[in-house]
């Protein structure tokens, strides 16, 4: 079985400052990985670099996604290949309705696969199905992307988009931050319903709490730009108990 994602000796930074200092990570189909670690340790940088955000420099190492080196690909090409990022801070896009946004994203994906644009009826049916999955209100369809959404709605909306786009690899960057327990539960339920033997998740979080709901196969502790310790879900509990002095 080939891994979905393989990161080898990744060194990267921004503005000449090295943030990732030789990171290695292998994610296989069907796996959920949790990455934990203190602030400023490079968790979000890792998410940005995997998804191809501009402004970062990769100085060494490689990122192989589905047996393809993706470092030279644009963000949209990586997305079309099947990488999804659930944003820590979902961006408001005034004037662009959720419906139009999703239609454009779905059609971009279909075009990439050589398919015609989705039929309106089929698209609406799909919207309804996926909305039910994450329990978000129907009215968001006509609203501008994330505009005026509560913190919980924004995060649920990320999961909704993930459900629509059905990625091979989803990276959820602190999806739990700022959520009350009910929202946290419905976000986690959404993720659990989307788990399959063919896809994989990387869940970035500060707190063990989320991992009660999204049970990881492997937990990594990231510190100073590297993964310093990996283990099963018990590692998260241990970390919660002992704090980061566990790895210092």
């Amino acid at each position: 079985m080939n891994p979905i994602l393989e990161i080898k000796n990744l060194h990267a930074g921004i503005g000449g400052k090295e943030i990732l200092k030789g990171l290695n990570l292998t994610v296989n189909p069907g796996e959920v990985h949790a990455i934990m670690g203190p602030n400023g340790t490079g968790k979000s940088t890792l998410a940005n670099i995997i998804t191809g955000r501009e402004g970062y420099e990769v100085t060494e190492g490689e990122i192989i996604f589905k047996a393809k080196d993706i470092l030279s690909l644009d963000p949209e090409e990586r997305a079309l290949e099947g990488i999804f990022l659930g944003f820590q801070y979902p961006v408001e896009i005034p004037g662009v309705s959720m419906t139009n946004f999703m239609k454009a994203a779905i059609d971009a994906k279909r075009k990439y696969k050589g398919l015609d644009p989705i039929k309106p009826g089929e698209f609406l049916k799909m919207m309804r199905e996926k909305q039910a999955l994450v329990d978000i209100p129907d009215k968001i369809k006509n609203r501008s992307v994330n505009e005026g959404f509560s913190g919980g709605e924004k995060k649920k909306n990320e999961i909704f988009q993930m459900a629509m786009l059905d990625p091979d690899l989803a990276i959820l960057d602190e999806t739990d931050s700022g959520l009350d327990i009910d929202a946290l539960r419905s976000v986690a339920e959404g993720v659990n319903k989307l788990r399959s033997k063919d896809n994989a998740f990387i869940v970035i979080t500060h707190y063990q709490r989320l991992l009660d709901y999204i049970v990881p196969d492997i937990v990594h502790i990231m510190y100073d730009g590297k993964i310093v310790k990996s283990g099963d879900k018990e590692l998260a509990l241990e970390l919660e108990e002992k704090g980061y002095k566990l790895v210092e």
Binding site: E54, E76, P90, V91, I93, G95, A108
Partner: protein, 446 residues
């Protein structure tokens, strides 16, 4: 100042041709304007309202000054597709073109050539003509009055409502030409009309156009004026609009400025009554070396009126824009609500906008605001959209199109909304004819 000298020479040599077709009261205004133009010429770059506008590339060029004065009977025009209009007329190279030169419709509306109206209804025209222009006398008013041959005359009697007029204003000279158009629009008490105007060009020739309109809204009159400007990259239109707004009258304009070498729209609204409402919307999209200016002045003379100015622009390449918006609230204009907002997106380092919002308030019980923003495409949003698999170009288009939504959504004629969206999408796309691959999925394809 090649053009100025050419015009002066033409005025001096063609007095009979310029003046003899008009009755004395027009002739007086005209000869004075001719003298004033000879004296003052084009506005100086030192003038604050003209400092940001590249006049030189017009003033140094040759435009035939006399085309305007010769009516080519062969001129034809086709209307663009604006659904649900009651009457379509055209102004071609400054001349009124329709089946009848001047007609009275069954509902009493008088519509036709201004030149013909000066002969047929001299008293009516005399009561209004040049009244507002004379009070302000802005740049190029003299040139317009000195040289115009014709334009639109529209008179809407008391209580006549629901009339929709389409005006095709076409530049169609076969040589580079100066064209001056003069319009007079009178709405009597409680009259209401919609006007949809398209400025377009037919020939790949340079046109320099002055377009002047005086508009009178009596008490409770309502005018909705939509304008689409889409002329070739060689041509310039300077439009001066003057509005007199009576008590409880409503003035609404929405100008979509799509293409042209230089487009300048000046709008001067004087609210002389109480409890009137004035809404002025504008969207300007410029690229290459284009220049687009909006100069707005709303004067509140009496109490209890509302005005709102909302102008948005996107400037690409080396395009330049100028927005100058003023609100004047006079001493007697208590309980005025007046607002103004100008928002811009600059797509390159070379694109430039000069945005100048002004408020001048002499009453103490008013609610007024003004604001101006200029920014670039939001990089965070761009990445967010691209992360969903949408190309960079389409992600930009989505954002730019969304930015224009506020102006398009303000359109009150439902049938106009989709065609406007199409025009804006095509313009943002940079090509009016290739849109197969565009994410925005226009309804019409040419």
């Amino acid at each position: 100042m090649k053009l100025q000298d050419n015009i002066i020479e033409y005025i001096n040599e063609n007095q009979a041709l310029l003046n003899d077709s008009f009755p004395d009261f027009i002739k007086d205004i005209r000869t004075k304007a001719q003298q004033d133009f000879i004296k003052k010429g084009f506005p100086s770059q030192k003038n604050e309202k003209w400092r940001r506008t590249k006049l030189k590339n017009i003033a140094d060029q040759y435009y035939h000054p006399g085309i305007n004065m010769i009516f080519d009977k062969e001129l034809k025009w086709e209307s663009c597709v604006v659904p649900e209009y009651d009457r379509a007329v055209a102004l071609v190279n400054g001349h009124y073109v329709a089946e009848k030169i001047l007609e009275v419709l069954p509902n009493g509306i008088v519509i036709g050539s201004l030149q013909a109206a000066t002969e047929k209804y001299p008293d009516l025209v005399k009561r209004y003509f040049n009244k507002l222009v004379a009070q302000q006398n802005k740049a190029f008013d003299d040139l317009n009055a000195a040289m115009f041959a014709d334009g639109l005359f529209l008179y809407v009697p008391k209580n006549v409502q629901g009339f929709r007029l389409q005006i095709t204003h076409r530049l169609d000279a076969k040589i580079d030409a100066l064209i001056n158009v003069r319009n007079l629009i009178i709405l009597e008490e409680n009259a209401q009309i919609d006007m949809v105007q398209c400025d377009d060009s037919n020939q790949h020739r340079s046109h320099f156009v002055t377009f002047n309109a005086e508009v009178f809204l009596a008490d409770k009159a309502k005018l909705n004026w939509y304008k689409y400007q889409n002329i070739n990259n060689l041509s310039a239109i300077f439009s001066n609009h003057y509005y007199e707004v009576g008590s409880q009258a409503n003035l609404y304009t929405n100008f979509i400025e799509l293409n042209g070498k230089t487009l300048r729209n000046e709008q001067f609204a004087q609210i002389i009554g109480v409890a009137a409402k004035v809404d002025l919307y504008g969207l300007y999209l410029a690229d290459k070396l284009q220049q687009v200016d909006n100069v707005i002045f709303v004067s509140h003379d009496k109490e209890g009126s509302y005005s709102n100015q909302k102008f948005k622009g996107i400037l690409d390449d080396s395009a330049r824009g100028f927005f100058n918006g003023q609100i004047l609230v006079k001493k007697d204009a208590q309980q005025t609500n007046a607002f103004q907002k100008n928002d811009n997106i600059l797509l390159t380092d070379k694109a430039r906008i000069s945005s100048q919002p002004f408020l001048e308030i002499y009453a103490d019980d008013v609610s007024c605001s003004h604001g101006s923003t200029t920014g670039q495409i939001d990089e965070d949003a761009l990445f967010y959209i691209r992360q969903r698999g949408i190309s960079k170009r389409d992600a930009q288009l989505l954002q730019l199109y969304a930015f224009t939504g506020e102006i398009i959504d303000a359109i009150k004629i439902p049938e106009l909304i989709e065609p406007t969206k199409d025009l804006v999408k095509k313009r943002l796309n940079g090509k009016l004819d290739v849109c197969e691959d565009c994410i925005l999925q226009c309804q019409t394809r040419t």
